[in-house]
Amino acid sequence: MAHPVKWIEKYMNESTNKPSGDWSDNERPGAVKLDTPVVEPSPTSLPSDSAADAALMGTGRMARLRHAMRKAAKPRRRSPQVAMLLQIIPGAGYIYMWRSGKALLTMLLFFLAYVILGLRFLQYNPTELAKRQTPINDNPEFDVFNLGLATTESLLLLGAIFLFLWANLMARTYREVQLANLNLEATSKEDLRKAQGGWLTTLLYFNYLAAAVIIFGCFQLIKDTEFDIGRLISKFNNIAKYVGGLFNPVWGALWEPKGIMFRMRETLEISIVGTLIGALFAVVLSLLAARNLMGRNPVTNVLYFVVRVILSVIRAVPTLFLAIIFVVSVGVGPFPAILALIIFSAGLMTKLFSESIEAIDWGQVEAVQASGGSAAHVVIFGVIPQVVPYYISGMLYSWEVNVHSASVLGLVGAGGIGDYVRDAIESYKYAQLGTALLVVIVITVAIDFTSAYIRSRIV
């Protein structure tokens, strides 16, 4: 939907102010028709009374609900004052205006702002802050141990920014509803002209100020997260020390027993086994997680939602976390890494696979059904042949990700090159550390390129 101001400008540029076209019944006669956001009835629908509707749509409770919602969404006069006051709960005013997308976005942004502000308030401790600003603690080394206390100025600034955005939101809403009403009700050009000027129009200029304030707020956040370029520059020689081996590799470290190549082979094996076993699970789960296969029947629909929720939970757990859990429960070595990768990559591949199932040509499924095929026939003949290339591509992609993950998992004792890196750091062998990094980079890049090339050829 275009912004109301745009409609008015468009109208004012027209040479005639004579209303033309037909009126839809929700507008009062004589109103200037500027835009038609009216839901047109589908040409195939038959005129019939609502009682017959209800009788025929007996099972379609959702359908009736959707119908009612569509009716409520029709443009009508709304009170700007009510909309503005509702915005005290950010987003509620947009719900009143029947703008669900704007409402959700506003709620999300303001929720984030609440969280940040709230957390900063919790970390506000003036006495502790004063103690830590003594000359002794001015040593930048101590910044590493900064507990993230909020300064008074930063809190006040963040609060002011927040209040300003809040007020701006309410004023914008008032203006928006007012203009939408004008669009419905204006009978002449003069009516529309009334919308120009006045303090509310002036307020629109404050949008630029709001943008500036948001940018300023971001700087406050940068300060709060102790982002410090100076510290990076002063510590640069450390980085050079740790990764110097990258440019001056110790080739001898490659082939020694339990050396870099031994660990790298372990990493690759972990990633391959993890991907393959994960794919076995994903092939089965993807059928259960595909909406077009499962959504046609209440029982399978419930199963679909259960599988979806479980998969979302699984994907939300970081692989490193899974690896730590398995290391402490089944012991160190490549085995816990494989377990972690199976779970993670099964979740990832199920998502990729089920999305490709959802994109299949349903006509081919219908053809199998129309020949009297069973549900299993539909999967074997109607679905699988269509998705095979996407499954292979998804597996390759998952393998790429697993190689990255497997390189890190050794840091928590789960085998692979990460194990070597941890050893090298703990025994101050920085040259070997750099060499290991070099090998990881070369092999991972090679795998990424190959896999991406193959994927581009098969899909």
Binding site: L46, A63, D361, Q364, E366, G373, H377, F381
Partner: protein
């Protein structure tokens, strides 16, 4: 349900029942989005008839055809095929119904990544039962039948090509071969020629007509073009706005009927 059907058929005249292949009563469909696609359609289709359905887009032609093999579940009314009410068939009952009611589609709906022969064998799936049916290997007789079907349509030499390497007309012939392999009593065709060139469209309709005559398969075809319907059909049904507004032989279709159906 089952018993009431039997009682129904017992009451009817046996001779008349034998002639009526598909009996449709009060058939209505309301889609979940509130669209009334079909409203109280009543029609009897005789055994071996070649019926063409005409009407503009959204008139309910597709909904009607798809209700017969239940790719669309009607909201109200009933369909009786061979004296058996199929409107509520589920599971294996529904599979048996679909085995007898073959269908070809506007977009051919071949499984593009499989060979032509395998596509034709999909028509045999309904006959396979049990665990062995999940294994995509077909018996010698099935393969023989599939090759014969392809031979009848003159494309047997394409049997081992991938389905998507064929032209549109050839793909539609493969789809027809698939329905032949199914050995159905009824053949439904949902806009079978809408995505084909005019000459190839005539070839496909010739084939459908020949199958209808030779195999005595009751054939129901959705067509956009009135002239084709008049040339090929024994009987024409005119749909408008979900209602059946014309039912008669092609000779009765005149200017006035045309106006009523399409305007």
């Amino acid at each position: 349900m089952e018993t009431s059907n039997r009682a129904d058929s017992a009451r009817g005249n046996a001779a008349e029942l034998d002639k009526v292949h598909i009996r449709v009563r009060n058939l209505s469909k309301v889609y979940p989005n509130g669209t009334h696609a079909m409203d109280s359609v009543n029609v009897d289709i005789q055994r071996g008839e070649f019926v063409a359905i005409i009407g503009s887009s959204g008139a309910g032609k597709s909904t009607f055809i798809r209700s017969i093999n239940r790719l669309v579940q009607p909201s109200r009314g009933e369909i009786v095929i061979n004296g058996i009410n199929t409107t509520q068939a589920r599971g294996s009952e529904l599979r048996r119904l679909r085995l007898d009611v073959a269908m070809i589609f506007q977009q051919f709906n071949l499984i593009k990544r499989l060979t032509v022969l395998r596509n034709v064998l999909v028509g045999r799936l309904g006959y396979k039962t049990g665990l062995e049916s999940l294994y995509p290997i077909f018996s010698k007789t099935d393969v023989e039948l599939a090759l014969n079907s392809l031979d009848r349509l003159g494309i047997v030499e394409k049997a081992y090509l991938r389905a998507d390497s064929l032209s549109g007309g050839q793909q539609q012939r493969v789809a027809i071969a698939r329905t032949l392999a199914q050995q159905p009593g009824i053949l439904l065709a949902d806009e079978p020629v809408a995505s084909l060139d005019p000459e190839i469209a005539l070839v496909v309709l010739d084939i459908l007509k020949r199958i209808n005559r030779e195999d005595k398969i009751t054939t129901i075809v959705n067509l956009h073009q009135l002239d084709m319907a008049k040339d090929y059909a024994d009987r024409i049904l005119g749909f408008k706005g979900g209602r059946l507004i014309f039912d008669g032989p092609p000779s009765e279709v005149d200017r006035e009927i045309y106006e009523r159906v399409y305007k």
